[in-house]
Symmetry: C2
Subunit: 111 residues, 2 copies
């Protein structure tokens, strides 16, 4: 438990797993099928690392373990990188555009 988020993100397979989970929660086996070159235990261990880093949560439903994304830790990474955001300029604008869109969405949610 209590594993470093950055080292959990260091592995490309685990990053891909998160990329898959961002769409919707997914069972371990389902996830594993996206990585045919890795054995089932390999998948399971990657998921364990993500769990221990707090990047995913698990929900057991019958025989399946459904993994889903947890935002908190990723937000920490985002907070860390915010310190450096002053170093590039162009991207700020697209980020602002994104935030504007997001704000509108949230406003609609409330209405």
């Amino acid at each position: 438990m209590e594993r470093d988020v950055f080292s959990a993100l260091a592995d490309p397979t685990r990053r891909q797993m998160l990329d898959l989970l961002v769409r919707h929660e997914q069972a371990a086996g389902e996830l594993g099928r996206a990585f045919p070159s890795i054995s089932q235990p390999g998948i399971s261990r990657h998921l364990r690392v993500l769990r221990e880093a707090g990047l995913v949560r698990v929900r057991q439903v019958r025989r399946n373990r459904y993994y889903s994304l947890r935002s908190e830790r990723l937000a920490e990474v985002d907070a860390w990188i915010t310190k450096y955001r002053g170093f590039w300029g162009v991207e700020l604008d697209s980020l602002e555009a994104y935030l504007d869109a997001k704000k509108r969405t949230r406003a609609e949610d409330r209405s």
Copy 2:
């Protein structure tokens, strides 16, 4: 050469180094003094990793090697994490606050 940015960021010492470099460029030795528990070759190798990941550049001036931050790769990480930004809501506000402050700074720069 051509090393993965995320694995370069996986080490806490290297992240601290970047945190120091975000203020201003710094000579290797100067940087090293911030980590008294690590030997000089240790510092040098961390800097090599950062170099190979494209996270820093070096400029030689007389006897000193001045390291400074390179934004491109960090921007890549930022782009990656952008995919997940939809997953947290509260943090968006502080991010907006940051952007507002930044925009004001940039406006002042132009005036």
